[in-house]
Structure formats: structure tokens, C-alpha cells
Amino acid sequence: MKKRVLAMVLGLTMLVSIFAVGCTKDEAKADFKAGFVYIGPTNDNGWTTAHDVARLELEKQLGIETAYVELVAEDEAAVKDAVTNLIDVGCNIIFTTSFGYMEPTVALAAEYPDLYFLHCSGYMMSENLGTYFGRIYEPRFLSGIVAGMKTTSNEIGYVAAMNIPEVVRGINAFTLGVKMVNPDATVNVRWTNTWIDPAKAKEAAEALLAEGCDVITQHQDSPGPLIAAEEKGAFAIGYDYPLTDVAPGSYMTAPVFNWSVYYVDIVKQIMDGKFVSASYWEGLNSGVVALAPMTDLVPAEAKTLVNEYEAKIKDGSFFVFEGEIKDNTGAVKVPAGTKMTDGEMLSMDWFVEGVKSN
């Protein structure tokens, strides 16, 4: 009998502790309320943090209410659940912030034609569904300048996630930045095949460091590579969100997103009744992407050059993917004087000269 009671108590404790993990929901009052669906936790210090900081900024600037659901898996049922929860608490503007949410978002947008849907990093649109992303390759190029001037071994490591155009574009923009200031440098790429796995990210960085790389950058949502670099006395460039305190001994800067620029803008449009479904893809000029403040580890001449090119990109006198650009087999991919189109950049599947990747 005693055992049975104990077993029940034990079972109940487990149940209660599971249900204690809920999400906070604000009460709906205003006419407009924005709901966010996140792939990671709001404090991941990366992708999701960048979105959540922008959500709070949106609340502050427009005085509207928001709600969010975090840690939503990239499958239809989970996304549907999260979105209907948000709709239940009164959200009428829904932001889905991961590529894998694309198809469920399309289905939900059709199901709720009176609501506004905005999907980050996808390409499928409808009347009430727009897409948005940042031209992160612009700050990536700038961070390449930093890496190219910082390296002394001329071997730079790049911990990459998936072999998809978005990541390839980042590697290429970064390498173009490196090569511009340091034609002898090589960018060595390691693929983790995951967005977020701190152990793998760190192991990949360690493999690069063991081969003599002295600057590491990443397309990863965890700070693993920064830490690996700090442990080995090398330098690192982060991603998504400034991370000064994780690895103060290695962190130099990071290409970052500042989503509030877009969120405030689009929500204003919706509130004014001026919403048009569009595909938003802006760069440094809009402020939606930026290079995070450079720490003291960045050489002074690199800082000057970065500022110079940032200004040039902003006023349109410099374009990252303008010819002549060769791929890493030596073939000319972009002839001199030609700029790549958005379509070409969005389907990029080759590496520029100077990239070593399998």
C-alpha cells in the first residue's frame, strides 16, 4: 500500500512539473496584436533572441501588445498549435520566424484570410502572407574584412550549418571580404549539418583550429565556435546577435539582425490599412542587418576600412557580388562589371575563389 501511495505521489510530481512549464499569454485589448512563433528559446543568444528583442522594441515603439510561443518544432502540427494559440489570445498579425515554418504558414494563411501572416526567410507568398529577410551577406562581407586583416596564419575557419544557398551566400560574401584585404588567405569550411548543436559546432571549430586557423567565424545559432577559439587563443566572429560576454578573449564582432526595423514598419503599414503582401529583403541601408560594434581585438585599420565599405554599400557605390568573381575552380562566374541579381543570389550553389570546402 505504502508503495502504491509513493508511486502515485511520484507520478503526480512528474505530471505537475511537466505542466508547470507553460507559456505566458497577455490579455488582448488593442485592435492589433502581434504573435510570434520561435524555433528556439527566447534567450538562445542568437537567432531567436534577435527576434525577441525586436518584439519588445515593437511593443515599446507602437504601444501594441504582443505574444509569443517559443521552442516550436518545424512540423505542421506544432506550428498549427502555436499559431492557433496565438490567434486564441487575440493575435491578428502572425510572424513565423523559421524557414521550416513555411508550408504550415501558407496553409494557415489560407485558413484565416482576415489575419496577416509574415514568414521569415521563406519564398512562398499569398494575399495575406508576406515574407521578410535581411541581406546579411552585406555585414558578412564586412566581417570578412576584419578576419582577413586579423589573421596571421592566413587560414580562416568557417563553421557552416547546412549546404543551402543562404549559407553558401554568407560564406562567399565573407570570403570576398577576406580576399579583398588579404589575397593569400584561405577560408576553410566545415559543415555541421545542424543550425544548433553546441557540441558539434565546437568540435568543428576545434578541427579548424587544429589545422592552424587563427580566426573562426560561424553560421551557427550557438556560441560553441567562439568558445573553442577562446580556449585556443584564437579570434572569432559570431552571428545573429552580439555576444561580447560569452568569449571576451576571442569575440571581435558579428553580422547581426535588427528585426525591429522591419517589425515596426510592417505593423505600422497594417495598422494604417496599407498592407500589401510583399517580399522584404533589405540590407545595411535599412538597418535590419548590421555589423555589431567591433571590440578592441579588431585592428584599427580594419575598423577604418569596414566603416568605409559600410558607407559605400549604403550609398550604393559598392556591391558585394559584383564581377569579376571566380569560383573556387577558377571559372569566371560573374563577369567584370556585372552585378548578380537577387534571383541568382538566392539560388547560389558555388563557392568563390579562396573557399576550401568539400
Binding site: K3, L6, A7, L10, M14, S17, I18, A20, V21, G40, P41, N43, D44, N45, T49, L71, N188, V189, R190, W191, T192, N193, I196, D197, P198, A199, K200, K202, E203, A204, E206, A207, L208, A210, E211, S222, P223, G224, I227, E231, L243, D245, V246, A247, K356, S357, N358
Partner: protein, 311 residues
């Protein structure tokens, strides 16, 4: 490729596997298959991290990581030994439970870093005098961090305990045939409890190694499947603690080799490399089943409940 650096890294990647494998071996020697290793490691990882973060005390963090793993295994021990629930189901439940607990407790610590003094204590490599001077071997084996040495000492200690001591023999009897063990006056339940708890503490320590030394920043699901590799490793090393040392380092090597192979443009997808530990386990299972040997067999009573009244 620098072989010395590769092997040093392999040992570090293999150390959490070694600790968890030892823990699971001890548990299985008592006849209990605990599939909750992943969960216990995560609980140990999160509690160790939180303790280190809040108290800045490395020793306390390690102790708490072990106690957390022990507490998680106590749930398992109570359910399977006293209530005689199905071991597979209970172990799986423990993994799911532990994953949830660690996410819950760790959610406000994501991205936080292990305090510098704790890192310094746990991560700095200690050179063993004389031995570290041996070329090649010295660099690899005798310039490691404190927990690497500790894990090897625990392994040797457990090996002696298991093969040379009376209590170790009793333990094996419990796992082989609890009825016989009971008949000669061994307290079967006590043996099971103690060894399941020791196993849990070692799993907790393995988790602590990951969150405090291996990746000293808190991330959700930091263990990332290493608990399952440990379960496979126990079979791979045929329940032998000494073989577990080599087996763990070998699996650690498989874990990290992929990124180093990418350099040679071999075009082996990372997914294939991720499968290697499991493929290796299957191969070993096949080999041992072709040439059965009493030495390589699992404890006879593994996974089965023991009802004293059934005699």
C-alpha cells in the same frame, strides 16, 4: 592532420562516454537495463552547471552533478526494483523526464558561461611529472584535465571491484541469477539499489563533464544523444570496464573525426559519420553472436524483474 591533437581531442570527447558507459555497466551488472542514461546525464549537466554558475565552486558543482544523476536514478531504482515496473519503459520515461527537467531548469541559463575560476580548475591540463615527458604518449595521455584522470581511476577501481572483490562477485551473481544470489544470502534489492544509484551518479558526472568542461556554456539539450551512444558502448565493450576505456575513446574519435576528414574532400556526408558508432556496435553484436563466448554475454538476468515470491 595533426595526430596528437586529434587523439587529445578524442580522449576529451570520449571521457563523458566513458563515465556514462561505466555507470550503465555497473547498473547492468546488477541486472537492470537503464535506458535513462541520456536523461540522467542531462539532469547532472544542468544541476552541475547551475551550481557552478551560482556558487563558483568547481568541487561543489561536480558533487551536485553526481547527486542529481543519483537522484534521477533513484526514481528508476524505486520503480524497477521495488515496484518491478518494466525496465525498458521506465528507462525511456526517465530519459524523457530528465530532458524536460533539464530544459525547464536550464531555460533561464541558456547562453550563460561557466565562471572563469571553475573553468580554470576543471579545464586546465595537469602534467603528470615524468610520464608527460614520454614523447607522443605523454602528450596525449598525461597532459589532460582532472576529470579525465578521475574517470580512468574510477574505471580501474571498478575493474578491481568487479573482478577481484567478494562484493563484485556478489554483484555479478545478482545480475546473473538473483534467485541463486538470494539463496546464498545476498541482499538482492540492496545490491540493485546501490549499483543503480552509483550508475546514476556516474551518468550525472558524465553530464557535468559535458556542461562544465566540454561545452562550458549552457545550451538546451547539451548532451545531444551521447547517453544513447553510452548504452550502445556497454554492448560494444561487452560489459568490461577496461575495454570501456578504449571503446569510449574510440567512439569519441568517431564523434570528432568527421570534421577533420572534411579537410580531405572525401565527400563523406556527416550523416554517415554520425552513424559510425552505431554501425560499429551492430558489427560487434554480430561478431559476438557468431562466436558466442561466456565472457561477452550480457548479465543473464538483464532486463528481467526479480520476484522473490516466485521461487
Amino acid at each position: 592532420m595533426n595526430i596528437t591533437l586529434l587523439l587529445i581531442a578524442a580522449i576529451q570527447a570520449g571521457t563523458p562516454l566513458l563515465l556514462a558507459t561505466l555507470g550503465e555497466t555497473i547498473t547492468e551488472k546488477a541486472g537492470h537495463l537503464n535506458l535513462g542514461v541520456e536523461g540522467m546525464m542531462l539532469v547532472g549537466a544542468v544541476m552541475g552547471f547551475v551550481t557552478a554558475f551560482e556558487t563558483q565552486n568547481a568541487g561543489l558543482a561536480i558533487l551536485v552533478a553526481m547527486l542529481a544523476g543519483l537522484a534521477a536514478s533513484l526514481i528508476y531504482a524505486f520503480l524497477t526494483v521495488s515496484l518491478r515496473t518494466n525496465q525498458i519503459v521506465t528507462g525511456l520515461a526517465l530519459t524523457i523526464f530528465g530532458t524536460g527537467v533539464s530544459s525547464f531548469i536550464g531555460s533561464s541559463y541558456i547562453g550563460e558561461v561557466v565562471p572563469a575560476n571553475v573553468k580554470l580548475f576543471l579545464k586546465s591540463s595537469i602534467e603528470i611529472p615524468l610520464l608527460s615527458k614520454i614523447p607522443f604518449v605523454g602528450d596525449i595521455l598525461f597532459k589532460q584535465d582532472i576529470l579525465v584522470y578521475l574517470s580512468i581511476i574510477i574505471t580501474v577501481f571498478f575493474g578491481i571491484y568487479l573482478y577481484k572483490s567478494r562484493i563484485g562477485l556478489n554483484l555479478k551473481a545478482v545480475g546473473e541469477n538473483p534467485y541463486a544470489a538470494d539463496a546464498v544470502g545476498i541482499n538482492v534489492s540492496l545490491y540493485k539499489y546501490i549499483h543503480i544509484l552509483i550508475g546514476g551518479a556516474l551518468s550525472g558526472l558524465a553530464g557535468g563533464y559535458i556542461s562544465l568542461v566540454y561545452i562550458p556554456v549552457w545550451q538546451d539539450n547539451v548532451v545531444a544523444g551521447k547517453g544513447w551512444i553510452a548504452v550502445a558502448l556497454v554492448i560494444f565493450v561487452s560489459w568490461n570496464p577496461y575495454k570501456a576505456i578504449l571503446g569510449s575513446y574510440f567512439f569519441g574519435l568517431l564523434d570528432i573525426i568527421g570534421f577533420r576528414l572534411q579537410k580531405f574532400e572525401l565527400h563523406i556526408p556527416q550523416d554517415i559519420i554520425d552513424m559510425l558508432p552505431y554501425i560499429a556496435t551492430i558489427v560487434v553484436l554480430i561478431i559476438t553472436s557468431i562466436r558466442p563466448s561466456i565472457k561477452n554475454n550480457p548479465p543473464h538476468w538483464l532486463g528481467r524483474e526479480y520476484f522473490r515470491e516466485d521461487r
